[in-house]
């Protein structure tokens, strides 16, 4: 995959498109002219304060065994340095020193040092650190023109060097001179100490002066991404002594600025590199460093959960490339979401569950089944709830709506994988009954857990009001459930999966969530008044969540509209109770009235709809397209003049229409006007009765009302160009 150079080509395409649109050629990069460099090492030392260490530092440099002519020391005074400079001037020195001054900032100072370096290699040295007397000599011997040289790094606490017994140096122990991968020395490639680098690379790739810290991690990742240098471990022992002091960053007490704001800044820059990096090895390395940055955020959040919403808000939309959300959220979840089908599997019910997670905005764990056999995968869907998920467990079982064997296997495997006692709350959502079955199993084990159960649609009765039947619970199971059930409710317990997937949550969940009032009433109409009241008491009506505008820009859409016409979008599949005939009827009116309106249908059943269009001679009015993936659909939904939505037709089957199309919530966030075809008495019908400028409505197949609405739609003042 990496050989395709995907990101590079995408950038080229962007440039070519721009050039075609503007009729211009893209400008090439100007060539840089560099001055020749002498063979040797420029040691770059930024000094801010440092009066305590300057003498020790100069002593270490004066002791170098490398010939005076082969190295220079560039001291960059920045910030507060007067006292340090006085001490430095009072010291007797024999080596070559150059002093420059910059405004405060370690990156700015180092960049000034790089600009002024006149030797072919650069070694960075912090003013509170020292190097062994042969450090520069042995480094120069090992230096190569296109190589980052890694030297030994010893930590010094008090006066005692650790002899290299630290996690950074250990990475080099027993390592080949030329490590087989960047990743094998990843910790060494995250800090300046102990490195000697070719000057010509650093003159092209410098420190980011806008970062407060983490600039070294970024520099090395940029160097590797831009130049793919060779990495070499110095076969000779040249030692960089890192003197650990109390105020060093690693010991800084965790605060918001360091642990969150600064980390997000570094993560943003690292993500920018990922956006143009195609090499898998380099990507793996950068991802590892991103995870390390997120580790700081995680540690902070563990101590300051009250700041979670703020942090999540800051990073929620870093989804264009990898972002280490799972590392940031690690071990923070107190709530487990159980959704048999969940993204990345494309499924409306799973998407709604992901939207619930976004709406809640708290860290969580998710458990779901592998739905590969019945649902397509859309990896972009992970962008939806991903920012809030700490751990997502996928259970590998054959997916099934009804099969007791597979559902039992799902529950059994899920229970093996879960540490249920770590959660305060579980939230199950069913279209797929297995979600509630697993939730009950967890509830049985840990009865103090708070259980919230949501219903996507009625389970016991299907859309034509037929009772669904599937044997699941045994007599023994029922007996056990009865032990915890009030005697007057025991009559509702039986072995039918679909009955129990409603009754068990009704009995044991602390809160029940329905997307509309009619759904609740329709689902409880089969029970006695006492039971109904018990269910109503703990029920909440909560419509499908609408996402923030940012989500509508996550993905590009390639929908081609007819600029000279009113464009109406219809997104959805067709089945017996919601068929394409309604669209055909509208199209016939458009044709008969010669209106400048085009209907764009996006559906999985393209052939069936196309056949209807051709048979009815409506091909100039209705255009059929394959179904769009979720984020492309959101993006496309903004483009139309109107979005059309139809109720499922339940008249003749049900007393009430319990279905509220979840598309309605997606349409609401698009900012596009909505044209609703409702079934009288439905939830959509009651929404239509509330006056709104952005929604026009008519009853399903009401010829006259449709005609009226088409007139409104085509009136120019409503749709100014």
């Amino acid at each position: 995959m990496a050989e395709l150079n995907i990101r590079k080509r995408l950038q080229e395409i962007e440039e070519q498109k721009r050039a075609i649109t503007l009729g211009k050629k893209t400008a090439g990069r100007p060539e840089s002219h560099e001055l020749p460099l002498s063979e040797g090492i420029s040691v770059i030392i930024p000094v801010h304060r440092g009066e305590e260490y300057i003498e020790r530092l100069i002593g270490s440099l004066e002791a170098q065994t490398l010939e005076r002519e082969q190295f220079e020391v560039i001291i960059i005074f920045n910030g507060e340095y007067v006292r340090t400079e006085e001490i430095f001037n009072s010291l007797e020195t024999k080596k070559q020193y150059r002093v420059i001054y910059t405004e405060q900032g370690v990156s700015r100072a180092r960049n000034a040092g790089i600009d002024n370096a006149s030797y072919s290699n650069i070694a960075f040295l912090d003013s509170d650190d020292t190097i062994s007397a042969d450090y520069l000599e042995k480094s120069l011997e090992a230096c190569e023109p296109f190589t980052i040289l890694l030297n030994r790094l010893y930590d010094v606490k008090g006066q005692k060097p650790d002899g290299g017994a630290n996690h950074i140096n250990r990475e080099l122990t027993g390592r080949d001179t030329y490590p087989e991968s960047y990743y094998s020395v990843v910790k060494n490639l995250s800090l300046n100490g102990g490195k000697v680098l070719p000057t010509h690379l650093l003159k092209k790739t410098k420190f980011d002066e806008t970062l407060n810290n983490g600039e070294d991690v970024l520099l090395y990742m940029q160097l590797i991404s831009e130049h793919k240098p060779i990495v070499k471990v110095n076969p000779d022992e040249a030692v960089y002594y890192r003197h650990l002091v109390d105020n060093s960053l690693s010991r800084t007490k965790s605060n918001y600025e360091f642990s969150i704001t600064d980390r997000i800044a570094v993560l943003g820059r690292l993500q920018d590199i990922l956006k143009v990096e195609d090499d898998e090895e380099v990507r793996t390395l950068i991802i590892d460093r991103m995870r390390a940055q997120a580790g700081f955020m995680n540690r902070y959040l563990k101590e300051h959960m009250e700041d979670y919403a703020l942090v999540a808000g800051e990073v929620a939309h870093y989804t264009d490339e990898y972002f280490p959300y799972a590392r940031m959220n690690e071990d923070l979840a107190k709530r487990l979401y159980i959704s048999y089908c969940f993204p990345p599997y494309s499924d409306t019910s799973g998407i709604v569950m992901a939207k619930r997670i976004v709406e809640r905005g708290e860290p969580c764990d998710v458990i779901h089944n592998n739905m590969y056999d019945v649902r397509s995968m859309d990896l972009t869907l992970e962008r939806l709830a991903g920012p809030f998920i700490a751990s997502r467990r996928e259970i590998n079982t054959t997916s099934s709506f009804t099969n007791s064997k597979y559902i039992s296997l799902f529950v059994e495997r899920a229970m093996e994988k879960l540490d249920i006692y770590r959660y305060r709350e579980i939230y199950s959502r069913a279209l797929w009954p297995a979600s509630h079955v697993l939730a009950y199993e967890i509830f049985k084990e840990s009865r103090n857990i708070r259980w919230i159960a949501e219903f996507s649609d009625p389970l016991y009765r299907d859309i034509k009001n037929n009772i669904r039947q599937a044997g699941f619970y045994t007599k023994k199971d029922i007996k056990e459930i009865k032990r915890h059930t009030a005697s007057n409710y025991q009559k509702y317990l039986d072995g039918n999966l679909f009955n129990m997937a409603e009754v068990i949550p009704f009995l044991f969940a602390e809160e029940l969530v329905f997307t509309n009032e009619l759904q609740l009433e329709s689902m409880i109409e089969r029970f006695d008044e006492d039971f109904k009241e018990m269910v109503r008491q703990k029920s909440v009506i909560d419509r499908h969540p609408t996402l923030a505008p940012e989500y509508y820009n996550y993905q590009k859409n390639y929908v081609a509209l007819d600029k000279d016409k009113i464009n109406i979008g219809y997104f959805g599949n067709f089945y017996e109770t919601r068929n394409a005939e309604e669209i055909m009827n509208i199209a016939r009116i458009i044709k008969a009235e010669s209106l400048d309106v085009k209907i764009h249908v996006f559906t999985n059943s393209t052939r069936q709809v196309k056949s209807q269009i051709f048979s009815n001679g409506l091909k100039d009015i209705v255009e059929v397209n394959p179904y769009l993936r979720y984020f492309e659909f959101l993006s496309a939904s903004k483009e139309f003049d109107y979005l059309m939505l139809s109720d499922a037709r339940t008249g003749g089957y049900k007393r009430r229409n319990p279905y509220l199309p979840s598309k309605f919530s997606d349409y609401l966030g698009s900012g596009t006007k909505i044209w609703v075809q409702y079934e009288p008495g439905s939830t959509l019908a009651s929404i239509c009765s509330e006056k709104s400028d952005s929604i026009i409505c008519n009853p399903l197949n009401d010829h006259g009302a449709i005609k009226e609405n088409l007139k409104r739609i085509t009136q120019k003042e409503e749709n100014p160009v």
Partner: protein
């Protein structure tokens, strides 16, 4: 080709680029997932190696091998 106007040619070129862009964007999504998984694997292997090198575990593994013999 000769009969196409400049504008028509521009349109065809843009459409072709967009098609390529669409396909590459799909690849990019898979590639993103792949590199995250590769990092996971590399990290887990490193952890595994650490465990193997931890002396008591090393000794236990050796003993297990001996027992099998």
């Amino acid at each position: 080709m000769d009969q196409l106007s400049y504008e028509e040619l521009k349109k065809i070129a843009l459409e072709s680029l967009e098609q390529e862009e669409r396909v590459l964007s799909e690849f990019k999504i898979i590639d993103q997932e792949m590199s995250a998984l590769k990092n996971d694997n590399a990290r887990l292997n490193r952890e595994l190696q650490k465990y193997k090198e931890f002396l008591p575990i090393k000794a236990a593994l050796k003993a297990k091998k001996m027992m099998k013999k």
